[in-house]
């Protein structure tokens, strides 16, 4: 009998979980509250990653759709600070650059725009007028929301197409209504959808080049030229664009790539994302402290249970395992709730924005891993304290 080995039995996995859940089932309100801390942290992180990924995916999709191969050449000021005018033939010159596929132009008009003659002339509507070529819309990948765009006939007539904001400011709801340009009524034949690449065009009233020259005293000089070329040659075109538009005074021409603004926006969002991720990490840390706190109290309250388990034959290791498991379950509960919450928040918000919902798996996996790590760390110290309790002390504590 003396020789027989005394080997403590190994607990089955299901038993380990069952024992770990005992303490949680007995104190539900406390479990919910301490899991909440973890849940908030994980939800923040999952939602932040999900939202920024979804928004970036949306932005990339938009960039893809709009194209990143659009360049603009805009008349600036010369060395004396005078407004310069692009030559009338700027647009055909640009079209002559080898890789250029499309080129179009607009020209700034010095025109007062009013809703009607009842509105005083000195009360600006916040809408400016631009002369536009008929191929503007196709070059910019823009489209009309209502009515028609200018064509070869209507570009000669006193008719206008309004940007989305301009229509709103003037109170125009559909084609057929009239606005006043200088002292002449002009019929609105169309309203544009917002032009994503060139938001400035949302606030203008567009009129054909010939009509502008005829009715509004336009000198026919474009102020901005737009062109598209294959993606591979964008940089080559960019290098020669100013010189082509204004040979000799290329310094007064501002060349830009509208899609850069969108890309810059994506980069700016990234900074905010890091900040929010940091906040989420702090919330998670606070949640972890909450779990550790709950576990320490749990051990203090359950000294008799610990003593009983020791009397029933639990080893120190079994007691440690019990409390680490309890802590793990507690934080896993919070983590799962948080991941679900974060995913739900992402989906709701992304769908409200009309974005495609993208929740990266690594963010869920990372959240889970963080949760488990926190569970172990938070449970370790209380578990070691619990297993260090002398069985007799624990049993006779009252």
């Amino acid at each position: 009998m003396t020789g027989s080995a005394l080997q403590p039995a190994r607990l089955a996995g299901a038993d380990i979980l069952r024992i770990g859940a005992v303490g949680l089932r007995a104190r539900r309100a406390r479990v919910v509250l301490s899991a909440l801390g973890i849940a908030i942290g994980i939800a923040t992180m999952v939602a932040v990653v999900g939202l920024s990924t979804s928004s970036r995916a949306d932005l990339m999709g938009r960039l893809d759709r709009l194209g990143t191969n659009l360049l603009t050449a805009e008349a600036g000021k010369d060395a004396l600070g005078q407004d310069v005018k692009l030559p009338k033939n700027a647009e055909p010159m640009v079209e002559r650059i080898g890789p250029v596929q499309q080129a179009t132009a607009i020209g700034q008009l010095d025109t007062r725009i009013r809703r009607s003659d009842v509105v005083p002339e000195d009360q600006p509507a916040g809408v400016t007028a631009q002369a536009a070529r008929t191929d503007l819309l196709t070059t910019l990948n823009a489209s009309t929301a209502k009515g028609r765009w200018l064509d070869r006939a209507s570009e000669r007539l006193p008719v206008t197409v309004l940007g989305a904001v301009a229509a709103e400011r003037l109170g125009i709801t559909g084609p057929g209504e009239k606005i006043m340009m200088n002292n002449r009524y002009v019929v609105v034949i169309g309203i544009l959808r917002p032009v994503e690449l060139v938001p400035n065009l949302d606030r203008v009233a567009l009129i054909g080049f010939p009509a502008a020259e005829r009715y509004l005293g336009f000198d026919g000089h474009p102020t901005t030229v737009f062109e598209r070329s294959p993606d591979a040659s964008v940089e080559d075109v960019r290098a020669v664009l100013a010189r082509t538009v204004m040979p000799g005074s290329e310094g007064s021409v501002k060349v830009s790539r509208p899609s850069d603004a969108l890309a810059a926006k994506a980069a700016a969002d990234q900074g905010l994302t890091s900040l929010m991720l940091g906040l989420g990490a702090v919330a998670l840390l606070v949640g972890g402290v909450g779990v550790a706190n709950t576990m320490v109290i749990s051990v203090l309250e359950r000294r008799q249970e610990i003593g009983l388990r020791r009397a029933l034959g639990a080893t120190k290791g079994a007691i440690r395992l019990q409390f680490v498991t309890e802590s793990l379950l507690l934080s896993a509960l919070g983590g799962a709730a948080g991941a679900a919450l974060g995913a739900a928040a992402t989906s709701t918000f992304a769908m409200a924005q009309g974005w495609e919902v993208v929740i990266p798996l690594w963010s869920l996996g990372g959240g889970l891993a963080a949760t488990l790590l926190i569970g172990i760390l938070a449970g370790l110290y209380p578990a070691i304290r619990a297993s260090g309790l002398h069985p007799t002390v624990a049993l006779h504590a009252t």
Binding site: L6, P8, R10, L11, E305, L312, G313, T315, P391
Partner: protein, 228 residues
């Protein structure tokens, strides 16, 4: 072979408290005995040593042939899981779990699978005549019933020794009597039982009783009439 054997056992606590001063004691299989003494006599310390919850300062304690002093903490745990069943004054049942699960916990650390634990728990509850209370939870049971559940938990592992610490201490007289009757019955079926109490009356009713005072055994008597 003896179940419990104590030889020249002493136990001192830091601060110069000598709880036990040289105790010799052996318990044979099938015995029903009481360790009786006033509080402070050292009987709780004796309980802890017999139950292997603590180790002696000197001397040897043997439980089922194993020298307690030579075993590691986890080996002692295994020893308790297999050879000793505890019954406590305040039952120590787990609230919110039914009688079967509470009793099944008695086998939890002995490596018995859940299904078998529950089967054996039901049998143990039948044995303490609580077959009609299987799915009752502790708060639905009377004090006497709770203590019978606790006894079933101690019994379910078929230990070599059932160690009861003031088993009637928290019960009224009637419930206490039922619990003692149950212990007598279990003894009759061959279970070895050691009751630790300060109650002379209970002790006197058991076949053997050991009086402890000031950390030493002052008398060890077998009463012929109670044994019969």
């Amino acid at each position: 072979m003896t179940v419990i054997e104590l030889r020249a056992v002493t136990k001192s606590y830091p601060g110069g408290v000598h709880a036990l001063r040289g105790v010799d004691l052996s318990i044979d299989p099938g015995e029903l005995l009481a360790v009786v003494g006033p509080s402070g006599s050292g009987k709780s310390t004796l309980l802890n040593l017999i139950g292997t919850l603590d180790r002696p300062t000197s001397g040897t304690v043997r439980v089922a042939g194993h020298d307690v002093g030579a075993l590691s903490d986890s080996q002692l745990s295994a020893l308790r899981a297999r050879h000793i069943g505890f019954v406590f004054q305040h039952f120590h049942l787990s609230p919110g779990r039914d009688a079967v699960d509470n009793v099944a916990d008695g086998l939890l650390y002995a490596g018995v699978p859940l299904k078998e634990r529950r089967v054996r728990a039901r049998l143990a509850l039948e044995q303490v005549r609580l077959g009609h209370r299987l799915s009752h939870r502790p708060h639905e049971l009377s004090g006497g019933e709770k203590q019978r559940v606790a006894i079933a938990r101690a019994l379910v592992g078929e230990p070599d020794l059932l160690l009861a610490d003031e088993p009637t201490g928290a019960l009224d007289t009637a419930s206490g009597r039922i619990v003692m009757e149950l212990l007598h019955e279990l003894h009759a079926t061959g279970t070895t039982i050691c009751v630790i109490t300060h109650d002379q009356e209970i002790a006197a009713a058991l076949p053997r009783h050991i009086r402890v005072r000031d950390g030493a055994v002052v008398s060890d008597r077998r009463s012929v009439e109670a044994a019969s």
